[in-house]
Structures are given as structure tokens and as C-alpha cells.
């Protein structure tokens, strides 16, 4: 327990250093609004993809419905902050979004998580599409046109802090006793059940956890971009989050960070290419997958723990 505390503190220091670094770069003027926009998009994608990585990479449940939960968070923020402005409105909407998406994740997850593999993928995709179609046809959500002029509250510090919080909570969950139960479910359901792991409970826990992070990302997205429409939360959005997870390496949180940052940067560079952008993106995707099928990092993690251990063992040798 004390060891874990030490590693978490180290991470916190690194995160604070990162925060001040970006802050200074903005003050100096190296990071302009264009790059800041890219950083925020990357941050939101990191939150989405780490949540999905928990579901796919650690619990082994193939979900294609991430965009649906993102939509719930985004619309909760859009509707609530339009009437209650300021920070309190945003944080209230964040919590409402999380609660709503947890409830929906339970409603979707309890029946569908009995399915396996591609059947689960298609069922979760269907559930997300149902959420999107319902939003598309409701009055309060502004129908197909969406909601405009959402008061902006989330700027890059909010997104940065949210990325840090979700990542710390997520990694601590994965490294806890409960996290090991989730990983056991991925490795072999029958074996896990025979050693007393409640398979269904942990599948559902991972799924709900993933949905909650997606709602956070959705809230940030709505609050930062100020306009949302149901068409943004279609199957393609779920797939683009899935691409980040697979590209980084399924079951590697570090990999997800690397892939989200790499794709964000590539996307920004490719903006200059206009129509050719998606062609290059598609080719890059195919080539990376063909030549590096396990993703950029595989299941490797950058962990402070192993670095500490290495330093320790080196000292002992000396």
C-alpha cells in the first residue's frame, strides 16, 4: 500500500511538471491556439480510449458502443450548462452525465454482456445507435441540428486535470485486487469462475467504468467545442476510439497515450492535405496494422514501479 502511494505521488509530480511545461509554452507563445486545440482533442481522446481499453484490453469485452455513452455526457453538459452557467453548472452536468451513463450502461450491460465476441460488439453498437437515434428525435436535445452556443467552461487545464484523474483512478483500479479479477475474466472466464471470481460482476464493472469515462470525455467535448450534433456520435466515432486502442496496443495504457498523441499530431499535420487526408490516414492505418499487428507498444507499460526497481537493483549491485 505504501509502495503504491509512492508511485502515485511520483506520477502526480510528473503530471504537475507536465502542466507547468504546457502552461509556460502557452505563455511564451510556442503553443498557439491551433496547437492548444490539438492538445485538448488529444486529451479527450485519451480519456475515451483509456476507458475503452479497460473494457476491451483488460476485461476482454469487445464493445463498439463507446460513442453512445460519450453522447450522454455531452448532452447532459450541453443541456445543464445552458441553464446553469459557470463552473458549478459544468461540474453538476459532469456528475449528472456520469450517473446517467452509468445507469444506461447497467441497462445495456446486464442483458448484453452475456454475449460473446463479435455478437457483443454488434449488440453494443446497436445500443449506442439507439441512444443516438433517440437523441436525434427528442425536443430537449435540439433534434438532428444539435445544440449551439453551449457556454464554454472546459479549457485545456480542465481537460488536462481530467485526463490525470481518470488515468490515475483507472491504473489504480487495474493494479488493485479487483483489477486482477477483471484481467482474470479476460484470460479465461471458466478458470476465473472456478477460483471464485464473479465473472459477470467484473465484466459489468469494467463496462460501467468505461461508460463513465466516456461520459466525462463527452462533457469536456461539449463544453470545449460549444456545439454538438447527434451525427458526431455515430458508429464512426466508436470506431475511431477503437482505432486508438488497437493502434496503441490492446491492454497497454501507455500505448493508448502514445497512439492518441500520435494520431492527434498526424491529423493536425494532414489538415494541410485537404481531401487526400483520409486516404493517407487509411493507408497509414493499414500499413501499421500489417507490419506491427500487436499495436505500437503491444502490452508494454511505462511504469514507475519497474523504473524504481531497476534503480534499486542497480544500487545493490554496486
Amino acid at each position: 500500500m505504501r509502495d503504491n502511494f509512492k508511485y502515485n505521488i511520483t506520477w502526480l509530480i510528473i503530471m504537475a511538471a507536465g502542466f507547468y511545461m504546457i502552461n509556460t509554452l502557452i505563455l511564451v507563445g510556442i503553443v498557439n491556439t491551433f496547437i492548444e486545440n490539438m492538445l485538448v482533442t488529444i486529451g479527450i481522446n485519451i480519456i475515451l480510449a483509456t476507458g475503452l481499453n479497460l473494457v476491451i484490453g483488460f476485461a476482454g469485452q469487445f464493445s463498439l458502443g463507446h460513442a453512445g455513452f460519450m453522447a450522454v455526457g455531452a448532452y447532459a453538459t450541453a443541456i445543464i450548462t445552458s441553464s446553469v452557467s459557470g463552473g458549478s453548472g459544468f461540474y453538476l452536468s459532469l456528475i449528472v452525465g456520469i450517473i446517467l451513463s452509468v445507469v444506461i450502461a447497467l441497462i445495456v450491460g446486464i442483458p448484453t454482456l452475456r454475449l460473446r465476441g463479435d455478437y457483443l460488439a454488434i449488440a453494443t453498437m446497436g445500443a449506442a445507435e439507439i441512444i443516438r437515434i433517440v437523441i436525434n428525435n427528442m425536443k430537449i436535445t435540439g433534434g438532428a441540428a444539435g445544440i449551439f452556443n453551449i457556454p464554454q467552461f472546459a479549457s485545456w487545464p480542465t481537460v488536462y486535470i481530467m485526463v490525470c484523474i481518470t488515468t490515475i483512478v483507472l491504473t489504480n483500479f487495474i493494479h488493485s485486487r479487483d483489477g486482477r479479477a477483471v484481467i482474470a475474466v479476460r484470460e479465461d472466464e471458466i478458470a476465473a469462475e472456478s477460483v471464485g471470481v464473479n465473472v459477470f460482476k467484473w465484466k459489468l464493472a469494467a463496462f460501467v467504468f468505461g461508460a463513465a469515462t466516456a461520459a466525462i470525455a463527452g462533457s469536456l467535448h461539449a463544453s470545449y467545442l460549444q456545439t454538438i450534433a447527434p451525427s458526431e456520435f455515430g458508429i464512426m466515432e466508436s470506431i475511431s476510439v477503437l482505432i486508438i486502442v488497437v493502434l496503441g496496443g490492446i491492454g497497454s495504457i501507455t500505448g493508448t497515450f502514445v497512439a492518441a498523441i500520435a494520431l492527434g499530431v498526424i491529423d493536425t499535420i494532414l489538415q494541410n492535405f485537404g481531401a487526400l487526408r483520409m486516404v493517407i490516414y487509411a493507408l497509414a492505418l493499414i500499413l501499421i496494422m500489417v507490419f506491427k499487428p500487436s499495436g505500437l507498444l503491444g502490452t508494454k507499460e511505462l511504469s514507475i514501479k519497474s523504473i524504481f526497481k531497476k534503480i534499486k537493483s542497480r544500487k545493490e549491485v554496486i
Partner: protein, 292 residues
Amino acid sequence: MQIIFQQIINGLSLGSIYALLALGYTMVYGIIKLINFAHGDIYMLGAFWGFYVINEWHFNFIAALLSSMVIGAISGVTIEYFAYRPLRHSPRITALITAIGVSYLLENGMSYSFSSNTRSFPQVIKQHSFDVGGVLISNIQILILVTSCVLMVLLQVIIKKTKMGKAMRAVSVDADAAELVGININHTISFTFALGSALAGAAGVLIGLYYNSIDPLMGMTPGIKAFIAAVLGGIGSVPGAAVGGFLIGVLETFFQAIGLSAYKDAVVYVVLIAILLILPAGIFGKNVKEKV
């Protein structure tokens, strides 16, 4: 009563397109366990090829249909060779992402090189309708139904009666064992892709005739719907894909007819989830028990 029959006829025509596409999904899935996301785009390629040969080379319907099937087959086999074959032994989700990449490449490649405008498909066959007891049936609907039924029967014959069909079934049951008895796996998988993609090419020309408009992104939604149809019927099962396709087509037109067109896709998904919960392996799928 007439309205119901009318909607069933409309639904069956749309459903047969979904069924043709779903067959490709289900065969490929049955043999290499890959959701071939690029399948909907082969359907788009087929439609564009039909558009091109009818406008430029003045092909008639049969020639356009057959040449589209050939083009579909060639593109299917090429995609398999370059994108999926290197990944045959890697995790399935990796192959899935590659398939999505191929799909993006085809959609955006077509938009980039031939512009993303919607084109109107040349009407090689003059449309006229027959009145059968108050139910209007157009000749194109009959053509679509007959063509797709003929193709499906043909496919069933190929799978059940020929040597290659036997090889396909063997590989889908156990690829390693099939290799041991002398079946060339690579050829068999290429053949499966050729068959499935040929059907998608045919579906492209048929939908061009039916809806009269094509664009580079036309494959996306029908592709997903056809995949749902395949899952609904029990993925890997050929009759299941046909039944699933017809079911989705009829459901969709029916909900459109009763004024719930905004919710028609939602209804399809609700039915899908409901069926999967009752029959987790689809209507015709075999539920394989896991042995310890």
C-alpha cells in the same frame, strides 16, 4: 391488406440486396472469423463499375451485372491478398482494424479520384409497374428478387455440391485439419472472398437500378445493416444470412410505412438485441458449448 402486401414486396426487394451483402459477410466470417468492413465498399465499387460501363461502353443489364461481379471478385481477392493475408495469425481485432482501414481507403480514394458527388444511375431497363390485385410491383423489383434468388441458389449449389465448396466448408470447420488432408487454404480463402465480393458487386448494380443514385459513401450504412442481417441469421450460416437480410429489409420498410421512419434504424437494432438475447448465436447459428 393491400398496403401490407405492398410493403412486403418493397421490403423483400430491399431485403434481397441486404441478403446478397450479408452472404459475403457470413462466408468470410465463417472461414477466417473476420468482420470484413470493406465489404460494403466493394458493393459501392460494383455500383460505380456498372455506372461506368453502362454510360461509357453502353453495356446492357446482364453484361453490366456480370462484369460488376467480376470486378467485385477481383477487388475482393486483391484486398484479401494485400491486407488480410499477412494478418492471418495475428489477433482478430487487428484484422478488424485493417478492414476498417481498407474501407476508409476505398471510400476516400473513390471520393478523391472521382469526386464525392451523387450520380444518377443510368436506367438500362425501362421501369414499369404491374398491378396485381391492387399491389404495385415494378419490373425492377421482380428483377432484383429473381436475380438475387438465382444467385443465392447458385451459391448454395457451389457450397454444397462442388469440390471447392467442400473445401470451403472444411476450412471453416478446422483450417489446420483441412490443410493436413491436402486442401490449399490460401486458394480456398481467396475463392471465398471472390464469391462473396462477386455477390456484393451484383448487389451494387441492382441497388443502382432500384434507387437510381450512387455515391462513394453509399456502402457504409447498407454494409452495417447487412452485417446485422448476418448476425441476426447466425453468422457463418448461408441460409441464415438470406433470412436475416429479408427480415431486416421487411422490418425497415414496414416501420417506414407506418410513419416511424425516424426510428426505423432503432427498431432494427432493438430487434437485433432482442433476438441475440433469446438466441445468442442468431436464428440459424449453432451455439457451441465451451468444453473445459
